[in-house]
Amino acid sequence: MTHQNAFFEALMTADMTPPDGLIGHSDGVSVGQRFNVYRNNVFHNLIEALQAAFPLIEKTLGAPGFQILAKDFIKAHLPSHPVLYRNGQALPDFLSDYAPLAHLGYLPDLARLELAISEVCDAPDHTPYPAQNLTGLTETDINELSLELAPSVRILGSPWPIYMLWAFLTDKGDAPDMKPQEVMVFRHEFSPIIRLLPPGGYAFLEAVKGGEPLGEAMTIAEASDAALSAETVQTIFNDVMQYALVKSVTMKGK
């Protein structure tokens, strides 16, 4: 084993004896204690990066609980990405299989939402499509439009009240009712925005993001969610136009 591998293995394993060949000084501080400085430094920084990316998971668990989760996660998922928050990409799936927190079934989706918030903050800018170009179109024309949405737009569906959980934990709402919810997350200027989607909204936006013309997207969404209505589409559209989330528009067959 190379020096590097031996050092790394011991670094990531609590209580493991440091590799041979290391020396301290005659002052009495043992090699083990000196080695712990490196170990603590690595874990401290990685845990801080996770705290910054998942503040609501930490708020839910409390700081000591989050420390335990973070250490277990880091040992199972050593950092692989130079952008620190991306090293938490596997946290939602990790939480799904994490027995000590299995009783908090909503945690994986809460982590997905926090990941989406980090991602939208990091998403590229776009030049919004000029809204005035869409005025005067007939309903048939509109049904044939495909919209390319802003690179920051993310959608998330959950069997849990994901929007109410977020609102509750950020002191914007009351304790959640237990029902499924869907959200759209995007960046407006420098701030992430989280919007509750009306029923059928997720299926509609998923089809739009997949390149379907608006008419087809409505048909697909109606088939998957009977609750989709013209008002649903209007509500979503208002957000999309208000926040200038359309990057480009193409008309079917052109």
Partner: protein, 174 residues
Amino acid sequence: MPYTDEVLARVCRHVDEVQTALGRQILVENPSTYLNYAESLMPEPAFLEAMAKQTGCGLLLDVNNIYVSCFNSGKNAEDYLEQFPHHYIGEIHLAGYAEDITSEGTLLIDNHGGPVQPPVWDLFHRLIEKTGHHPTLIEWDANIPDWDTLYAEVVKARQVMADAFQASGLEKAG
């Protein structure tokens, strides 16, 4: 890292790779250390000098790291500073350290969490007296204080530089 010829060759390959990718010179910083490898054959300043010579990289001298590493390994920080290849310095860092006092003894931890400590100011004075002016950065990125406290460190650094110039009779270089 053990400071051996084999490790030197490997580090130089990596520095070359980075400089080639970036299309420019980089500065490599002396680390804070808490342990050393028994098999090291050369002192750290000699290793850094050989690396700079072979790759054309510059060196970033962190004065706090010198003090922390020397304290932790029972070496003399002034000797280290004497041995450091000054003509490769492109930038200087100053920072605070924390004392980790345990039943086994005391380690200094490079934590960037407080003001620059007196022995580090003394080394900085000595360095400027010897080498003249270099771009200097105060690193304070944990327990960040209010602006006035942070700015007082900058003022102090400028004062130490001015005093050191005066003591050396050197013209302000760079």
